[in-house]
Symmetry: C2
Subunit: 129 residues, 2 copies
């Protein structure tokens, strides 16, 4: 399989977030959205997206003059890999410690908390089988 060792850099991840949210987009669109958060030159964004294409993090359609880029790795799979690494690096592998910290320090809606409890219950049910 391809893209097994995905490791987008921070800039690349910013761009992936935009592509995941927007769907296939031109460099200009991505650059404009990027600039809502911080200043980045157009050619900088272009260059990074070209590098991402080389790495197969994105695919691009070059039929029209304005190339259209699309994420070629899924948001969920990427998040999962990055999460694994983050848990190792920051919480010494204890995902539960991370969960506790995240729950303790970020506001969650009642609905979200219920969702999490439901998920835990379904995990516990599975374990008992």
């Amino acid at each position: 399989m391809k893209n097994d060792n995905i490791r987008p850099t921070e800039s690349e991840l910013e761009i992936l977030q935009i592509l995941w949210a927007q769907g296939p987009s031109s460099v200009r669109t991505v650059n404009e959205l990027l600039n809502e958060k911080r200043d980045v030159g157009y050619t900088t964004t272009l260059k990074i997206m070209q590098i991402m294409a080389d790495k197969h993090l994105v695919e691009r359609n070059t039929e029209s003059r304005t190339h259209i880029y699309e994420a070629s790795i899924s948001e969920e799979a990427t998040q999962q890999k990055l999460l694994d690494r983050f848990v190792d690096a920051t919480f010494r592998g204890s995902a539960m410690k991370l969960v506790m910290q995240a729950l303790g320090n970020h506001k969650a809606s009642k609905q979200e908390l219920e969702d999490i409890k439901a998920l835990i219950n379904s995990i516990e049910k599975k374990d008992n089988k």
Copy 2:
């Protein structure tokens, strides 16, 4: 306050993990523990720890010839900051999405799951006040 914008690199974080686990340590000790996971030259470790001292990520006691290094930022505060940034970068700010992914894909003991449920219940109780 100092160290407000902590941003340890990956190598620095590895070393911090060791210092948090071991308490104040010499470069040699840190380097040996580091080498249980991967090959790193002694002077490499030394250099990084010296840089960390410059950045005030660690303090060092230079009274004896063998300098003793100690983490100067707490594990919890560091984890919290890194977690915040990670949630932003990877989960577009949705800590709950991160929690769901972490719960869904990492094995948790029955006890840990109960702990999390208890935490959620206590959060819900607080919210109702």
